[in-house]
C-alpha cells in the first residue's frame, strides 16, 4: 500500500535579480522560510532533493542549514530540474521510506538569452556556429506554425502577455510588477517573429522550497496541506517538435507535454474539466496558448474564444498563471517548475493575497516544459 503525499509547507525567494545573494543562498532562504512558516526545524527534515541548472550543487546548502546527516540528492535535469526534485521527493514518501522531506530548486542566470553549447545536447558544432541553436527561434517557429493552422492572432499573444503582467502586479514574488498594456506589448521590439520583447520571459533568479509529508505525518503536523495527487515527468515521443531539432519527422506526433499530462490525469483519476486553476509553461506568450491545448483544457483553436471571454484571467472559469507565470516572474530554470506548484499551494490554501482566485479551489494543475523535450506535470488537491 503506497502512502498518500501532501505538501505541508512552502517558501520562496522573490524572483528577479538579487545581486547580493548567490543562487544557492536564495535556495537556503526559501528553505528557511518554508520551515518557519510550518513551524518546523531543519532537524525535522529526513531527506531532500534539490538542484539548479547554473547555480551550483543543492546539497552544499547543508553547510548553512545544519549538518544533520540526511540524504540530500542533487538533481540536474535541465528545465525539469525542479519538477524532477519534486518527483524524487514524492516517490520517496510514496514508497514509505521517509515521511517528511524537502524539494528545493533555485537558479541564477546571467542577463540575455541562454547560450547552450551543441556538444552538450548531442549536436554538431555547425548547428550552433551558424546561428540555429536558440530557444527563442524554436518557440517562435512553433507558435508561427500553430497560428497559421489554428487562427491564433498576434493580438491574442499580446492579450496573454498583458494578463501575465497584470497578475504579476499582484504577486509579491514576481519580478515584473508593472502592468504593460497590449499595444505596448505588440509594438515593442520584435525579437523572433511573431514574438516581441514583452512576449518572452527572461532568464532570471529565484528559489522555491516545498515540504512534503506522508498522510500520517501531515495529520500529525496539522498544517494547511494539499494532497499531491500526481507528479509525472516525461520525455518526448516520436514525431514531436522540440527545442534544438535540426530536423523533424514528416509524420507528426504528440509532445512530451501531452504524454506527461495524460500520465498525470491517469495518476490522479481526474480530467482537465475537473481542474480549478492551472499554471502552464509560458516561456513566451504563445507557449501558454499551445499548452492550454496540449494539457487538454481546450481543442486547438478554441483559445481564441477563451482569451476573448477572459476565461484564463484570475476571475475566469480557469485562471491560468495567476502569479504572472514566467513572463512576469522570469525563468530561473531550477526554480521555475516549483514556483508553479508553490503558486497552486498558496492558492488552494487561500493565502494568495491580492491575486487569490475566487471561489472554492479543489484541484490545481502545473506544467513545466524544457529542452530537449521534457515536461513535468503535478496535480494538487485541497
Amino acid at each position: 500500500m503506497s502512502e498518500d503525499v501532501f505538501i505541508v509547507g512552502a517558501g520562496i525567494h522573490p524572483f528577479g535579480r538579487t545581486p547580493g545573494l548567490s543562487g544557492l543562498q536564495q535556495g537556503v532562504f526559501a528553505v528557511r522560510q518554508a520551515l518557519e512558516r510550518a513551524g518546523l526545524a531543519w532537524r525535522d527534515i529526513q531527506f531532500a532533493f534539490g538542484g539548479s541548472d547554473a547555480a551550483g550543487n543543492a546539497d552544499t546548502m547543508v553547510s548553512e542549514l545544519g549538518l544533520t546527516g540526511i540524504p540530500f540528492i542533487n538533481v540536474a535535469n535541465g528545465c525539469a530540474t525542479g519538477g524532477s526534485a519534486m518527483f524524487g521527493a514524492y516517490s520517496t514518501i510514496k514508497s514509505g521510506e521517509f515521511d517528511l522531506g524537502l524539494a528545493v530548486g533555485f537558479d541564477k542566470h546571467p542577463r540575455g538569452s541562454f547560450s547552450p553549447l551543441p556538444a552538450d545536447w548531442g549536436l554538431p558544432d555547425w548547428y550552433g556556429e551558424t546561428g540555429l541553436m536558440l530557444t527563442t527561434q524554436f518557440f517562435a517557429m512553433k507558435i508561427q506554425r500553430y497560428m497559421s493552422l489554428h487562427g491564433i492572432t498576434p493580438r491574442m499573444l499580446g492579450a496573454v502577455a498583458e494578463k501575465a503582467f497584470a497578475n504579476g502586479v499582484l504577486a509579491d514574488h514576481a519580478w515584473r510588477r508593472e502592468a504593460v498594456d497590449i499595444d505596448t506589448i505588440l509594438h515593442s521590439q520584435m525579437v523572433s517573429d511573431p514574438l516581441t520583447k514583452f512576449m518572452f520571459c527572461s532568464p532570471g533568479e529565484g528559489a522555491v522550497a516545498l515540504l512534503l509529508a506522508s498522510g500520517r505525518k501531515a495529520r500529525e503536523l496539522g498544517l494547511p496541506a494539499v494532497r499531491l495527487r500526481a507528479a509525472a515527468v516525461r520525455t518526448r515521443p516520436p514525431g514531436s517538435f522540440e527545442v534544438f531539432s535540426p530536423a523533424l519527422d514528416l509524420e507528426r506526433g504528440g509532445s512530451p507535454t501531452s504524454v506527461a499530462s495524460q500520465a498525470a490525469y491517469d495518476m490522479a483519476g481526474v480530467g482537465p474539466e475537473d481542474i480549478d486553476i492551472a499554471q502552464l509553461q509560458d516561456t513566451e506568450a504563445g507557449a501558454e496558448i499551445m499548452h492550454m491545448a496540449e494539457n487538454g483544457f481546450c481543442a486547438d483553436g478554441e483559445q481564441a474564444a477563451w482569451i476573448a471571454e477572459g476565461r484564463t484571467r484570475i476571475d475566469g472559469s480557469l485562471p491560468v498563471n495567476t502569479d504572472g507565470g514566467c513572463l512576469a516572474c522570469g525563468e530561473p530554470i531550477g526554480a521555475s517548475g516549483l514556483r508553479q506548484v508553490y503558486e497552486n499551494y498558496v492558492q488552494l490554501i487561500g493565502q494568495a493575497g491580492a491575486r487569490q482566485a475566487p471561489g472554492k479551489l479543489r484541484l490545481g494543475y502545473s506544467h513545466v516544459y524544457g529542452a530537449p523535450g521534457v515536461s513535468a506535470v503535478a496535480i494538487v488537491e485541497r
Partner: protein, 140 residues
C-alpha cells in the same frame, strides 16, 4: 558552381554537385527512418542518403539579435536573418537559414530549394553551409 564553393563547414553535411548541393542524411536500416544530420559514415546501422532538394516552408522566424558566442561563430557585425523549417518532399522537415527572400514575403507553404550558403566566420574565413531559397521553378 561546385568547384568555386569554399570548403564545407562540417564533414558529412552537404554534397556539392553540378546542380548546387544536396543535404546528406542517414536512413536507419531496421526502421527506414531518416535522420539529419547524417550519422557517422562507419555506423553500420545506417545507410547514407541524399535528401530531396525541394520542398515547402513549414514554419519560419527572423533572428533579430546577434546570438551569443560561443556557439555562434559568425562575424561581430550583425544583420538579422531568417530561419525556417522546410518540409523536403516525402523525406524530412529540415531547419536552416532562409535566403534570397524578403522577410515580408515569407509564408508557410511557399516552395523552397536547398542552396549553398557561404558562411563567413568571425576570423574572416568562409565556409560553405546550406540554406533554403524560394524555388522559382515551382508553383506556389
Amino acid at each position: 558552381m561546385p568547384d568555386t564553393l569554399p570548403i564545407p563547414i562540417a564533414d558529412g553535411l552537404i554534397c556539392p554537385d553540378a546542380d548546387g548541393i544536396a543535404l546528406l542524411a542517414s536512413r536507419e536500416r531496421a526502421t527506414h527512418r531518416l535522420c539529419f544530420p547524417a550519422r557517422p559514415e562507419d555506423d553500420t546501422r545506417y545507410d547514407r542518403v541524399l535528401l530531396p532538394r525541394t520542398g515547402r516552408l513549414w514554419s519560419w522566424t527572423v533572428q533579430r539579435f546577434r546570438p551569443k558566442s560561443p556557439p555562434y561563430a559568425g562575424p561581430e557585425a550583425f544583420e538579422p536573418y531568417a530561419v525556417g523549417y522546410v518540409e523536403l518532399d516525402g523525406a524530412l522537415i529540415v531547419e536552416g537559414r532562409l535566403v534570397d527572400v524578403a522577410f515580408d514575403d515569407l509564408a508557410i507553404g511557399m516552395a523552397m530549394r536547398v542552396v549553398p550558403l557561404p558562411f563567413p566566420l568571425a576570423d574572416g574565413t568562409v565556409r560553405t553551409s546550406f540554406g533554403f531559397a524560394p524555388d522559382g521553378s515551382a508553383g506556389i
